[in-house]
Symmetry: C2
Subunit: 639 residues, 2 copies
């Protein structure tokens, strides 16, 4: 059978496949992950790709517009390879290549021109010292310190007591040859600033001994950890796990309330430490390294997560005027924080801006690149808090709104987190109102997660099951729309189809909660844009971060009025921008200095004190909005 | 009955007493402590004082020379007051006023011109902050830090995690008024150096709230601790206790050997910490203060004691080439060291010079004032190690010799530490060879302590019981001199006189050990003086430190050849110079800088590598010395 070459040009990947292969199969062979939320049935339109050279046979173009088809777009799950072909993956799909599960290492490239000798604050050095004798009885530490200062060409090296305790035996066991790990924590290449000795071992270390670090993002829901080779910048393992604090509250507010109970704060601190330490262990097991060889951690997370990790009180975050204990933390040691890596390892907590704009956002802004572009950029972190940043390289304003947990499955009767058994995407037939859905893990559904809720709500609205006010159309001839225990509701899955035997439904109460959540987020960025006099229409790109943002269907999110109505190519899904920012700061002192600049230059807009927010919020409590002129593409779709 | 005024002119003390009062009684009433090692029997000559105005009736002038009598000297215990009189206490007696026991506070005056605002590195400040509001959501730490930096007029204030954890509650409980303890640890009034926040408490502190510190000297035998009001410089309590490590070895060498056993080092560390913590508790109980209100500790001790306290290995101190791990320690925190004061309290370990010239000696040089004088000074710390420093304000050389524990009662059959039941001074009748002695606590004797051994050996030599080689005169007609189990011996106390019913004796083996100990000390300072070309005769003052030094009888020590033959007034007994130096460094940053200068400018002479030492040592293995020309006063006494 004839073979053809399929090139995924913008991803520098390719596959050699026989005639008749589907593009999705070729992509899989080339290591390119394409979204197929509908399971490859050509129903969801999420696998749209552009043929830039050659041709494919397209079995279905359902969910593609005429314009898209004219531009060469096809649905990869419906496109049969019959000759050599060059394919481009559009941005919102391409980015998903980076989405990582616990089992894969995403293709994160070290920053260009990364040179550990310049950018990395840590160094491992071997030193051969002149042994003492009766004419030179210099104490061990002075002997080592002077040699180190000479080698480093700097004025001062300091050592904590725990390291001083190891010096004597190391020097003698190594016959006056030792290997040290030393850190110059200054970001500005300051020669006068003291460097710190973090460890000493007897003997020479092989030149290629890696130096390990971890980047950690403490999400309210998920903790992500990257294990990084600090000499090459290569990410060796990416692991993630639910934050064990979830069992004590699903959002930051309920965590703060829990922390105020007796021993609650300490319990939450232990729970997040257990989560982090399990991830450290898992990453180390997988890469066969010793956790004590990890000498640095860069940590991000929202302000509440950071405070809980460090045993800082959180109550003032919850109560007006919403003040944190500390936004800029000093460098800490792993031993004092409780992270099970080298006890002297530096723990660098990235800076936050305010109670609800934390280090996760400054790190996100850093890694998104929005602070390095002239383009007017809107950065959204669509999590429970709904943080928004608007700006360019010259200015940054930020706000947060309490979107609530609806998009994470909270406050919705059949809502659930995005785990196995969650309906993550829904399609509703415009004539029969019958749904089809895709379930995480391809098992019987147990409930609906955030992306499934967005998808479902948009489909119900577009097919007329609910109106722009979120009210159910009681005149529809469908058993799916009925009056249930909680009022009108739509049946997504019948009991005989579900894991637990009960119907999965979306009630008008759930719809109200979802509309309130999307309304808060939309109101947040519209007020932000108004307050700085930069109309939304002038925004040149929308960068969406957060693990939640990974799965949002842009079209449907616009239909709901969650995202502003812009061409799809304006949107980029960046996945977990927070851990990526931590990774950059972990590697590169100039990036670390940059995130500090970002934090201190960001202007924070407190929405809870802003009447405009309530007005904008009220106007946004419709699908997509009171003013349909703001959503011309939705108006067209409804027409 | 007529009353008279007795003035102790040079001590600015006086008493009004009736006719017939003894000068010693008048002294006691005036708060002046005079030595009466023979119990006030006029036998020891240690209470000699000079009448500078008026007259007394002298019952006995035994042990005073004709010249002394001509100059107005009397024995205070034999001098009856019969009119107004002005008395001068000679230096070697006067200094003993400073000798402190656990139960008394010695008259230590704060340094002249002491100003805590300038000299003290710690400050307690109360701050009234503007509370946050919706227009000013500055984080707590920035709010406090900026206010502090403004108040202190300096660039940077830092806080450890443990203090950051307390900020939020303190600010809110105190309604935005807080009291902080802040430290600027720089010695050079550096405005750019960061200051550290050690503590924060809600509300205002009364202006007169004291700020507490402790000065600690960790002796091999005794740990001394002074509790100091850092605002006035006043010493509020002085406590001392045996170092609990004694049970694991009496000298530093046996401690190091013990430390090398399994868990031995950790055990010794715990033992000295227990000792220090008990002293802290005792000082606090006595002054009714809370240990958590102590924010600073200055610590001295020999290098082995410092290393054991801090968990640093000690084996290299014992083995050639005799190297410490670290002579200059960084500032530590009480929590990490294990001292039960405020956990963030600064622990400032004073600098050492070498394995056998530690922080106790640099502190001793500081407090003795020898580094501030043009007089050629010999400083002796007559402990187990026998450290010696020779020099002036312009130069300092130092050495240590292993005197061994003989002067502390070790290696001598009936030797004991200077505790209750120890014979501390002995007089031997020159015709009958019958002894009389004074016992600590006025109880039946159990043994002989260091000063008693010096006294006894000198008496035996002067009365001819032993010859210059330390051999017993076997022809004496006295039951006191006999051949015992261990060869020839002298019976100091018969069994019916002692606490344990056994004879207390000094054998020829004991005599050999004592001669070796005094020979080592003498050889140390003679080699030191030769090596720098400064003959002993040019030495203008001899300062004797160490708790041992407190009790030495100069005359007898010269008779032995332990101290060089100089006029008595050249000698000054300074008591515990080490804890005094710690006290000065605790109070005054310029003194702290000075002790650092002293440590780095001292030239250390390693005697174990020096043949001259062995020659000098061999020559000194006689009473007082091979060359009697070096001891003209002894030659006269013998004649």
């Amino acid at each position: 059978m004839a073979e053809h070459i399929v090139q995924f040009a913008n991803l520098q990947a390719s596959a050699r496949v026989p005639t008749g292969t589907l593009l999705t199969e070729a992509a899989q062979q080339a290591g390119v992950r394409l979204n197929q939320p509908c399971g490859g049935q050509g129903r969801c339109g999420r696998c749209a790709v552009q043929i830039v050279q050659g041709q494919v046979r397209s079995r279905s173009t359902l969910r593609l517009g005429a314009e898209d088809i004219a531009r060469g777009f096809v649905l990869a799950c419906q496109a049969v390879v019959e000759g050599d072909v060059v394919v481009d993956i559009p941005p919102q799909e391409k980015i998903e290549r980076r989405l990582t599960t616990d089992r894969t290492v995403a293709a994160v490239s070290p920053p260009a021109h990364y040179d550990p000798a310049i950018h990395q604050t840590l160094q491992r050095l071997s030193l051969q010292l002149k042994p003492p004798n009766m004419d030179d009885q210099t104490d061990d530490w002075s002997r080592l310190k002077w040699a180190l200062e000479k080698r480093l060409g700097r004025g001062q090296v300091e050592a904590p007591l725990a390291v001083l305790q190891k010096i004597g035996p190391a020097l003698r066991q190594g016959d006056w040859t030792v290997t040290v790990v030393v850190e110059d924590p200054s970001w500005d290449f300051c020669d006068d600033c003291p460097a710190n000795l973090l460890d000493i071992q007897p003997g020479l270390a092989p030149a290629d001994t890696p130096l390990w670090g971890i980047a950690v993002d403490i999400g309210t829901t998920t903790v992500s950890l990257w294990l990084v080779d600090l000499l090459s910048g290569v990410v060796k393992a990416q692991v993630a796990e639910y934050n064990r604090q979830i069992s004590r509250g699903e959002d930051v507010i309920s965590r703060i309330i829990y922390a105020n109970k007796n021993h609650g704060a300490e319990e939450l601190r232990q729970l997040v430490l257990e989560t982090i330490n399990e991830l450290v262990e898992r990453a180390c097991r997988r890469t066969k390294i010793n956790a004590a060889d990890i000498y640095k951690a860069a940590i991000t997370g929202n302000s509440t997560m950071m405070h809980l990790l460090l045993g800082l009180p959180t109550n003032s975050i919850r109560l007006a005027p919403f003040v944190t204990t500390v936004n800029n933390l000093p460098l800490l040691r792993a031993g004092e924080v409780g992270i099970h890596i080298h006890p002297q390892a530096t723990v660098d907590c990235l800076p936050g801006v305010a109670s609800y704009v934390g280090a996760d956002i400054t790190a996100g802004v850093l890694s998104s690149g929005m602070a390095d572009t002239d383009k007017i950029t809107l950065f959204l972190d669509v999590g429970t808090n709904g943080e928004t940043v608007l700006g360019t390289r010259d200015w940054l304003v930020t706000c947060a709104c309490s979107a609530g947990p609806a998009f994470e499955g909270g406050g919705v009767l059949d809502g659930m987190r995005a785990t196995r058994g969650a309906i993550e995407e829904v399609w509703v037939h415009s004539q029969t109102y019958e749904p089809s859905w895709r379930v995480i893990g391809n098992v019987r559904p147990k409930g609906i997660c955030g992306s499934g809720l967005i998808s479902l709500l948009a489909e119900l609205f577009i097919t007329g099951v609910i109106d722009k006010g979120g009210h159910f159309n009681s005149h529809l001839q469908s058993p799916r729309v009925r009056k249930g225990e909680h009022g009108w509701e739509y049946v997504v899955a019948w009991g005989h189809e579900t894991a637990h035997g009960r119907d999965i439904t979306l009630s008008h109460v759930d719809v109200d909660n979802l509309i309130r959540a999307k309304g808060a987020i939309y109101a947040g960025f519209t007020v932000l844009s108004e307050s700085v006099g930069v109309p939304l229409e002038t925004v040149e790109q929308v960068l969406i971060g957060g693990s939640f943002g990974k799965y949002i269907n842009v079209e449907k999110a616009i239909h709901l009025g969650l995202l502003p109505d812009m061409p799809w190519e304006h949107f980029q899904f960046l996945g977990n921008t927070s851990v990526k920012g931590a990774y950059l700061a972990l590697l590169d002192r100039t990036q670390r200095a940059r995130v500090q600049d970002i934090a201190s230059s960001m202007t924070y807009l407190e929405l809870s004190a802003d009447n405009r927010f309530y007005e904008a919020f009220t106007s946004a409590l419709f699908l997509p909005h009171t003013n349909l002129n703001k959503f011309p593409s939705v108006a067209r779709a409804l027409a």
